[in-house]
């Protein structure tokens, strides 16, 4: 069968464009929004890759495109060695069981007319993992592991709190017994205690079932806890990727540095004494991205070259990649 050392997911130069702006701007001819701009990544079997970055930088779009819920404008995704755009509908549907997503917005991803129990049972029924008569105990078991009581099975999404709905979404993703889960802000609506339970659960399932996660989150403390490697995204591109400990202890990209310095710490004294690097200036727009390195208008370390030349993602140390001119060989200031 498949080589266990081969990556489970291979993302190759992925690009995603959207149309936006309304008719007014269509005439001006600027309606193409590039949400994902040439992303290449690999996910090894059983690994958790954290994905972080500014709001609107393209994380959810990337996550959805990896599952082909959005068709890429360019580039390719291979799952377990097979290119997704070569598959027909039936093959894709079969593969879908193995790749699940916990959506960022749990409410709009649940059918309001279906009880949450039915919603969780649905993937089991579709993929023949349970029958019409015997899904209940299986759903109850899933509810139990995400911390929802069995009495909640017959209730409807609107009767739930935000965090309870998010746990329904997690139960639904687990129901299909997948190999790979995109967790898009999957624990962000949860209070810390339940968040800790769910994170422990995800880690336990990963070891037990050799699951692979793409873990999108803006909470860096959570990402640091759960990930093996972490990728940092800025305006549609990966700007840094490294093993977790390297990234948090030795961030190279100025954007990563700013990001790490902004994390709130739940301790009044530690919090008051911290230095933060605030990036000045406007958040760039994917409709008209800055020239060269997209960070250069806000970057405290920008050089002349940054305005003109887009830095490529290059290795800088073992398993550590960064897209920044500070680290290119021909830059005199590099070390």
């Amino acid at each position: 069968m498949t080589d266990p050392s081969a990556p489970l997911i291979e993302i190759d130069n992925l690009e995603v464009d959207f149309e936006v702006g309304g008719r007014l701007f269509a005439r001006a001819g600027q309606t193409k929004l590039r949400a994902v701009d040439g992303v290449s990544l690999e996910l090894r079997r059983g690994e958790t890759l954290g994905l972080v970055g500014e709001s609107g930088c393209g994380k959810s779009t990337l996550g959805r495109t990896v599952l082909h819920l959005i068709k890429p404008t360019g580039g390719q995704v291979r799952f377990d060695g097979r290119a997704l755009d070569d598959l027909d509908e039936i093959e894709l549907r079969q593969l879908r069981r193995r790749m699940q997503i916990v959506f960022q917005d749990p409410f709009s991803s649940l059918n309001p007319r279906m009880s949450v129990g039915e919603a969780v049972a649905e993937p089991m029924l579709i993929h023949g993992l349970a029958g019409k008569d015997d899904w209940r105990p299986k759903v109850a078991e899933l509810f139990d592991i995400v911390g929802l009581g069995p009495a909640m099975i017959d209730r409807y999404p609107h009767e739930f709190s935000g965090g309870q709905r998010q746990r329904v979404g997690i139960a639904r993703a687990l129901a299909a017994q997948p190999d790979f889960i995109v967790c898009d802000e999957a624990v962000s609506a949860l209070d810390v205690s339940i968040q800790a339970q769910i994170i422990n659960l995800l880690e336990e399932l990963r070891t037990r079932l050799n699951l692979t996660y793409l873990f999108i989150a803006h909470d860096l403390a959570v990402v640091r806890h759960i990930s093996d490697r972490v990728a940092v995204m800025y305006l549609g591109r990966i700007v840094e990727i490294a093993a977790k400990s390297d990234l948090f202890e030795n961030p190279l990209h100025p954007y990563t540095e700013a990001l790490l310095s902004a994390v709130p710490i739940p301790d009044r004294n530690a919090e008051i004494n911290r230095q933060r690097i605030l990036l000045p200036g406007e958040v760039p727009s994917p409709l008209s991205p800055p020239s060269g390195c997209a960070l250069h208008p806000r970057c405290p370390k920008a050089m002349a070259v940054c305005r003109d030349l887009k830095p490529a993602l290059r290795p800088h140390g073992e398993g550590h990649h960064v897209a920044c001119h500070l680290y290119s060989e021909d830059n005199p200031g590099s070390f």
Binding site: G147, D154, D191, Q195, L220, P266, D267, L278
Partner: protein, 330 residues
Amino acid sequence: MTAAAQAPPLLQVRDLAVEFGGDGGVVKAVNGVSFDLHRGEIVALVGESGCGKSVTALALLRLVADPPGRITAGSIHFDGEDLLQIPLPLLRDIRGDRIAMIFQEAMNSLNPVHRIGRQIAEPLSLHRAMPMRDALAKAVDLLRSVRIPEALRRSRDYPHQFSGGMQQRAMIAMGMGCEPDIIIADEPTTALDVTIQAQLLELLQQQVVEKQTSILLITHNLGIVARYADRVNVMYAGRIVEQAKAEDIYDRPRHPYTLGLLQSVPRIDQAIGDKLTPIEGQPPDPINPPPGCPFRPRCRFAVTRCDEDIPPLRRLTDSQSIACWVDVDD
């Protein structure tokens, strides 16, 4: 702060109770909640998922869906009037104008068929009698202030064209539009990365400082509470179990639940441990809560008394109260 604390509170919530009736029984989602909000302060409401934070927030503006929801008891005094008693048309004038609400699930509270800019402009033209043209221009300014790039152009997008965090920022822009006296912000920054989160919270804080706005901040992020809140209410199973100044909560949590909450947070300034330490067990079934203290089954400090009597909120110091028969500090 101290001056504000001596003046009568701007919002005074007393013994608020909300129930949901259903086939399975009655859910007591909010069960006798009392707290104050003074002019120019940020008060946090924290607690476990499902403990009743959003329902409390909705009840303040009588926005709980009825049926199945019912506000069964309590009073909410705002500027001399009880919001639970005043006629609905008067309340509608207050909503979005003097008290604004930033809802937890932005996508769900934005209208999918209207452009973002228009939705932000609407309350301005309604409450401020601003001509639509001006209101739309102001909406673009507001989008810019919440850091939406190319705000003019993006104001013509529909909600589904915004990312999760952009939708949330649009909600914040809408909430700030009329410069309300009170902003109720229900998890306003959960979908935001830390840098924009910091910028937006600073924007909200600026309103507090410059305009003496008051904010009820619902969040599960204890880092945010540490940085921005003046006072904190910790809620558990529909009740407030600890009330304190923000600094006291971190230095000296006194309720066992608060202590557990602080211990379950992953922290970026600590070593990477093997496992997080959540509070073991589950919150009580809201339909058939056990007798006695609702935290009893998960509490490692419990004494026999906890099985029988629900502890009332009691004062430990001038600024700290707990609903607990023991005090973890002893």
